[in-house]
């Protein structure tokens, strides 16, 4: 069914209808209205196009994109689709190039995405070729509007979207600057293919309630207990969020008292160096998870820093692309700390492996759910920032933004 034929439950943001994760028509509409609409999508780190004449492929939803840094150092992004017959222009993940040549018929583009050459435009021996009135400058891949913020490259096809900093809102912008404190050094990356709809993963990220319950490792080592000082920030429009907690533990016993599965207080590490860390930001915040609508995540877990790109690959498949980084001025010891802590994240992450699977648990759980609805009432029905993370406010915030973009 198309979005027009659907109607949202009466209880506002505290009830989410399950068809939202399993309607094939909806998927295509989300691509147009959200990912190719008035939203900013994180494309890559500036450090991923480190020098003039370098490029990297990325995505705007499931649309392929090329990000380039031209000879003058300016960053551009355009659809990875030749203006001639639609072939992918870049067939590699990343590389160096002075120009981009489509392999199919050798139409050539500069790194700003301008068509600079049409093979045999004038034919051969005066025969064939393009019409005399052909205007190459009218043929080019769709240009994205690009803005960089604190080392992050964002792109959009939208025409009605404000500047990135305004789109983020002041608190989110500040917390991004906090982490992106200096020139970045790439540490590496990998992707996870998640067996669920993209929205299930984004909800998981924004769901500060699950963190200490699904991830037992997390809780047991007091990396993040809901009883630790911290808070939840939701942007005005609902789409962006921060969840953070202080490292210092208030030594609560709520979990043990509540007899929760996740509280094995007996549990200790033989090799505690795994968790060794330094307060590099000087504010005692040990964990900060930040997301920007629709699909960007910036993560600080102790000294383990990473960006995550959420790329829909169909109704029930989602690519989660991780890029881990440190800073140019890290010494060997600092890099080793980050690398050791990266045992906590990714597909084998001691505190993250469950998230990928959780999207699948829900996608399979709702297979027969049809018109049923999920319950999102933790912390009430609002979407405002609060001190407590025992709340689904950021999840409700996501749906607030989603409904606005989808006009439902």
């Amino acid at each position: 069914m198309t979005i027009h034929e659907r109607s949202w439950p009466s209880d506002g943001l505290t009830r989410i209808p399950y068809w939202i994760y399993s309607d094939r028509d909806l998927y295509a509409e989300e691509q147009a209205r959200i990912f190719r609409g008035d939203t900013w999508t994180f494309l890559c780190l500036e450090a991923e196009v480190p020098r003039p004449n370098t490029f990297r492929i990325a995505n705007l939803g499931d649309m392929p994109v090329v990000v380039t840094r031209d000879k003058d150092g300016v960053i551009h992004a355009f659809e990875n689709r030749c203006a001639h017959r639609g072939s992918l222009l870049c067939l590699k993940q990343r590389g160096e190039a002075k120009e981009i040549v489509c392999v199919y018929h050798n139409w050539t583009y500069d790194l700003s995405g301008n068509l600079t050459g049409i093979a045999f435009r004038r034919g051969v021996g005066g025969k064939g070729g393009m019409p005399a009135d052909c205007k190459p400058d009218q043929h080019a891949p769709r240009q994205l509007r690009v803005e960089t913020f604190a080392g992050l490259v964002f792109g959009t096809l939208g025409t009605g979207v404000p500047a990135v900093e305004q789109y983020l809102g002041p608190e989110i912008a500040a917390k991004i600057r906090r982490v992106m404190k200096g020139p970045v050094k790439l540490l590496g990356g990998y992707t996870q293919m998640l067996p669920g709809n993209w929205k299930l993963y984004i909800e998981n990220v924004k769901d500060s309630y699950h963190a200490s319950l699904l991830h037992m490792f997390f809780t047991t080592f007091r990396l993040n207990r809901l009883s630790q000082k911290g808070g939840l920030v939701v942007s005005e429009d609902g789409g962006n969020h921060i969840s953070y907690s202080m490292t210092a533990d208030v030594a609560g016993k709520e979990y043990e008292q509540a007899g929760l599965r996740t509280a094995h207080s007996g549990y200790s590490l033989e090799a505690p160096e795994l968790l060794q860390s330094v307060d590099e930001f000087g504010d005692g915040i040990g964990l900060q998870i930040l997301s920007v609508f629709p699909g960007f995540v910036l993560q600080q877990i102790r000294n383990c820093l990473a960006v995550r790109r959420v790329v829909p690959q169909g109704l029930d498949r989602t690519e989660l692309a991780w890029t881990s980084f440190g800073f140019a001025d890290d010494d060997e010891k600092m890099t080793e700390l980050r690398l050791r802590q990266s045992n906590l994240i990714g597909p084998s992450g001691l505190i993250s492996m469950e998230d990928g699977a959780a999207t699948g648990f829900v996608q399979r759980g709702i297979r027969g759910a049809g018109e049923e609805e999920s319950v999102v009432e933790m912390g009430g029905s609002g979407t405002s920032s609060e001190e407590s993370r025992v709340s689904e406010a950021a999840v409700r915030g996501f749906w607030k933004a989603y409904r606005r973009h989808m006009a439902i």
């Binding site: 990998y190 037992m216 597909p347 469950e354």
Partner: protein
């Protein structure tokens, strides 16, 4: 090619993957030297000279912690692996140790019955041969693909 060493490494590999495929995770750390290193990374990271790992352990104790987490902390559906390994290619690495490189394919089988080719790649190992006990001093699992389906809970 020293046949005896060849077979010693091949036997170590066989016992190693059997322990994993049969779910005897507690035995897994014992295939490593006390200060043995273990990491899983991707060919892409290696080719770019980037140090990030998917799993990174610098001692047998860290491997034991990983097993403990798998048993007591982490949540994942019942699943098993089936490894098939090529014969190792070995070369001496001085004083009673050899470098070994071994291609592998791993299928993952879920409790639901779903079977998939989960991972391919190569082991790049340093093996210490102390008497009749061969152990990994250093084992690097280099995945051919940058992409993992859902999660990688059980070690490779």
């Amino acid at each position: 090619m020293n046949l005896e060493r060849q077979l010693a490494v091949q036997d170590l590999n066989a016992r190693y993957v059997d322990a994993i495929d049969e779910g005897r995770f507690e035995q897994w750390p014992d295939f490593f030297a006390d200060d043995g290193h273990y990491r899983i990374t991707t060919a892409e990271n290696v080719e770019q000279g980037l140090p990030l790992s998917i799993i990174y352990a610098t001692s047998r104790a860290m491997l034991r912690d990983r097993v403990r987490a798998l048993r007591e902390a982490n949540v994942y559906e019942a699943q098993r692996y089936r490894h098939v390994l090529a014969p190792p290619r070995i070369e001496p690495a001085g004083e009673g140790s050899v470098r070994a490189q071994t291609s592998f394919m791993v299928a993952r089988i879920m409790h639901t019955g779903e079977t998939a080719l989960f991972a391919t790649g190569r082991y790049v190992d340093r093996v210490v041969l102390a008497g009749d006990a061969a152990r990994f001093a250093d084992k690097t699992v280099i995945l051919d693909s940058r992409q993992i389906d859902t999660l990688l809970a059980i070690p490779l």
